[in-house]
Amino acid sequence: MKRFAALFAALDRTTSTRTKTRALADYFRDAPEADRLWCIALLSGRRPRRTITTTKLREWAAERAGIPLWLFETCYPVVGDLSETIALILPEPSRESDLPLAEWIARLRALDTADEETRKAAILDAWDSLAPDERFVFNKLLTGGWRMGVSQKLMTRALSQATDIDEAELTHRLMGDWTPDTVSWAGLIEAPDPTADLSRPYPFYLAYQVDGAPEELGPASDWLAERKWDGIRGQLILRGGEHWLWSRGEELITERFPELARLRDFLPPGTVIDGEVLAWDRQDETPLPFARLQPRIGRKTVPKKLLSEAPVILMAYDLLEWQGTDLRGAPLSQRRETLAGALSNLPEELPVRLSPRVAATDWAGLAEARAQSRDLGAEGLMLKRLSAPYLAGRKKGDWWKWKVDPLTIDAVMIYAQAGSGRRATLYTDFTFAVWDGNALVPFTKAYSGLTDAEFGEITRWVRKNTTERFGPVRAVRPEHVFEIAFEGIQQSPRHKSGVALRFPRMARWRKDKPVSEANTLHDLKAMLAQYG
C-alpha cells in the first residue's frame, strides 16, 4: 500500500500530465504484477464492490478518534470528502504495514461475508497500521469513490511507455468485461488471447467540436455528413452466436435493450456495429426525444410496458468488424459500403437503421441541413472523412461534430451550494430562476462554465449576501443574472417550472444585465413549445 499511496500522492500533487504519466509509468514498471493490475482496474472504473456502509465507517472513525458523531459530521463538509475526513481525524497509527495493494483489496473483499463485529475489528486494525496518506487511499477503496485525476487515456499512455506496446492496441486490450480476478498481467497486457473474451469491444472513436469554419476542412466531397443523433452511443457485438451492447462509458448494457437480440438471427457472427441507441417512433420513422429513452437507461430489466412505450433501434454509423475481420484500418467509404450492404434487405421491423447520409454536396448545403437539426430531433451534424480509418479515442483531424448552437436563457441566481472535493471551498452549484409575474420560479441548476476566478468572486459574494440557510444550501439575494446555455428542453412534471433542460451550464455572467431583464417563464414555455 505504501507504493500505491506514494503513487497517489505523486499524481495528486501535480497538474502536469507529463509528470503524472511518468509517475504512473514508473509504477507499471516496478510495482508487483497483481498491484499493477489492480491499479489499471481502479483507474478504468473496475472497483471492488463496497462491503461496508459509510454510516458504519463514520461511526467507527468517530469512536476511534474519541469525538462525538456530530463533530465528525461538522468536519465532513469542511473537508468535502469522506475518505479524507476519516483519514484526518484518526489518531496516528501504532504500527506499520508492508502489505501490497492487492493484498489489502483481498482482505477487504473477504469481509463481504463477515459479521459486523469482524468487519469493525478488521477496519480498526487496518486504520491503526496505515499512515495517513495510506489510510486515505484505503478509505477510497472502502467507499468506492475513486478519482485520481488520471484519465484512462493518460493511464494507457503511461502503460504504453512502461511496456513499449502501442497505445491504441493497449486501449483495445484494456476494454471489455475483465477484472483482476479473471485475467493475469500477462493475459491482459503482454500476450492477450483474442478469443478469451468474445465480448471485448473496440475503443470508441470520439470527435471534437469543429473549432473554425467548416470550409477549412477542405472540399465537402471529402466528407460524409450525417445527423448527430441524441441517444446512447453504443457498440453492438455479435460473436459466437451471442450479442453484447457496450456503452461509450464501457458499460455492458445488453440487458437494457433486449429488442436488439433479434439482430443475431439476421446478421452473421463476427459483426461489430458502432451506432446510436435511439427511442424510435415506428409510425413516423423519427427519433423520440431523449427524455423517452431516459427511463430505460436506469434499469437493468425492462418491463413490457416500457418496451412498448419507448421501443429502441440501433442507428448504425459504422462497421468495425465484418465476418470476424477487424475493418478499422479500412477507409470509412469502404466500411460504410459494407455496412450498407449488410443492412440491406433486412425486414423493416428489425430494430436497426443505417444512419442516412446528409445529401448536400457543398458547405452551404450542409450548413442549411445543420440548421434543421433541432426540428429533426438531432444535435447537429457529424462530419467524417471518407478516406479515414477508425481511430481509438478522441482525436482531431478526421471526425468532427458540428453541433447547432445551444439554446440560451438569462436567469437569476437564487440558491448556492458549495462543491465537493477540489471545489469544497467554493460555491459552485447554483439554482437559477426566471420571472413569473413578480415571483422568481426556479427551473434549473448549473455547476459549470465559469472560470476559477469567477467562482472565487461569486463565492465571496455569496458569503456576504446569504439571506437564509437550508442545511448546505444558501438562499442569496437575487442580484446576479447568468446566461444559461442548454442543448434541449423537455416537459417535466417533477419540476416546479414544468420544464427540464438538457446539459445546462453557465455560458456567461451577465454583469451588464439588471435582474429585471432576466427571461420569464413565458419565454421558457415558448421554447418548450418550439423545441420540446
Partner: protein, 337 residues
C-alpha cells in the same frame, strides 16, 4: 466582569483599557503585531518589548510602551501581565486580575515550540479566551523535524531539476520560522520585499536568521541558481512571479492539511504548518489553564464551544474581528473566517 465584549473589542472596565481593539481607543494592550490584532489609530499602545519593533515598523510613529514577559503592571483596579503565546516572536497572552478573579486573553497561540518564538506558557486562570482558527479534529500539524526534512527535500529536488522553489508564507512569523528550518547548504535564499522588511526588523532585534537576498528590480537572478524564494501567499501566481523562470511552488499553511485547498491553490506542494494551535494543541492549552469558563473567538467558534461544553467547561462564543490564518480563502465552516 473582568473583561467586557464591546463594539470596539475586549474591554477591561477596572483599568479602562482595551485588548487588541479593532476600533480606535485611548489605550490598547496588544498581544502581537499581526494586523488584525495591532491596528492603527489608538491613543497609546502597550506590548512586550519583543513585539514592539514589528508593531512600530507596521504602524509608524505611535505612542508605544513595553513590558517584560511576566512583569506585573497595575492599571487602575486591575493587574496585568504578559506571557509567551508561542505564536510569533514577541507574542503574548495577557493575564488580567481584578479582585482575585483571573482572566487570560490568549490572542493567537500555538503550543509547539517553533524554535524561534518564546514557547507557549500555560497560565492558570478562571476564564480563558481562546481562538479556534483550527478548532476541528481534522487539523493536526506535521512535527517540526519532519517539516524541515520535507521542505529541504523539496528544495533540493527542485534545485536539482534546475528550477527555483517558491514558497508562499506570511511575512511575520511563518517566514522566519521557515528560514530557520531551511538548510542553506542547498542554495541561496531569496525574498520578496514584504518578507525581507519584517525579517530585517527581527534580525535587528537579535534573532539569528540565515542570510537572505531581497529580490529587487536590479537583482541578477541568474547569479543565484537553485534558490529558495520566500514570498507572501498573494504573490504566488501574480505578475511578480514571471521573472523567476521555471519554478516549483509551495504553500506553508495550516490549510494545506486539506487536499481540497491544496488542489484549489494548484501549488506543487503544500506544507502543513501553522502558527496557530491544532486541535490537540487547543485542547491541551485549555486544560492546562485550569479554567472553568472558556470564551471562543475567531475560527470554528460554534462547534468548538459546543465541544468544550460537552467536556464540562462553561463555554460561549464571542464575536470579534480577528482574522486567524487566511490564505485568501478558508474552508467554509460555521463562523470560519
Amino acid at each position: 466582569m473582568v473583561l467586557e465584549f464591546t463594539e470596539a473589542g475586549l474591554y477591561c472596565p477596572a483599568a479602562d483599557v482595551h485588548i487588541d481593539p479593532w476600533r480606535p481607543v485611548p489605550r490598547a494592550l496588544i498581544t502581537h503585531g499581526h494586523s488584525d490584532h495591532a491596528r492603527p489609530g489608538h491613543g497609546a499602545y502597550l506590548s512586550t518589548g519583543e513585539a514592539a519593533p514589528v508593531i512600530r515598523h507596521r504602524l509608524g510613529d505611535i505612542r508605544l510602551d513595553t513590558v517584560r514577559y511576566g512583569e506585573t503592571l497595575r492599571i487602575g483596579g486591575a493587574t496585568f501581565s504578559f506571557h509567551p503565546a508561542g505564536h510569533v516572536p514577541g507574542s503574548a497572552q495577557i493575564r488580567v486580575e481584578v479582585g482575585g478573579e483571573v482572566w487570560v486573553v490568549s490572542g493567537d497561540y500555538k503550543t509547539v515550540d517553533d524554535g524561534l518564538s518564546e514557547p507557549f506558557e500555560p497560565v492558570r486562570c478562571h476564564t480563558f479566551i481562546t481562538e479556534s482558527t483550527f478548532g476541528l479534529p481534522i487539523y493536526a500539524w506535521t512535527p517540526q523535524e519532519a517539516l524541515a526534512r520535507d521542505l529541504n527535500a523539496w528544495w533540493a529536488e527542485t534545485a536539482a531539476a534546475g528550477k527555483r522553489a517558491v514558497l508562499g508564507v506570511y511575512a511575520l512569523g511563518k517566514a522566519q520560522r521557515i528560514l530557520r528550518l531551511l538548510d542553506p547548504s542547498i542554495g541561496p535564499i531569496l525574498t520578496h520585499g514584504a518578507i525581507e522588511a519584517v525579517t530585517e526588523v527581527l534580525r535587528a532585534q537579535g534573532l539569528s536568521l540565515p542570510d537572505t537576498i531581497q529580490i529587487t528590480a536590479g537583482t541578477d537572478l541568474k547569479a543565484h541558481p537553485g534558490a529558495m524564494v520566500l514570498a507572501p501567499p498573494s504573490a504566488l501566481g501574480s505578475a511578480w512571479m514571471r521573472r523567476l523562470g521555471p519554478v516549483s511552488t509551495g504553500f506553508a499553511s495550516g490549510w494545506m492539511r486539506l487536499r481540497g485547498v491544496r488542489r484549489r491553490r494548484a501549488a506543487d506542494r503544500g506544507f502543513v504548518v501553522s502558527d496557530h494551535a491544532d486541535w490537540d494543541g487547543l485542547n491541551a492549552a485549555i486544560a492546562a489553564t485550569g479554567a472553568s469558563r472558556v470564551f471562543v473567538t475567531h475560527g470554528y467558534t460554534q462547534s468548538f464551544a459546543r465541544w468544550l461544553s460537552e467536556q464540562g467547561y462553561e463555554a460561549g462564543v464571542v464575536e470579534t474581528e480577528f482574522g486567524g490564518e487566511s490564505l485568501d480563502e478558508a474552508p467554509e465552516g460555521e463562523g470560519a473566517a
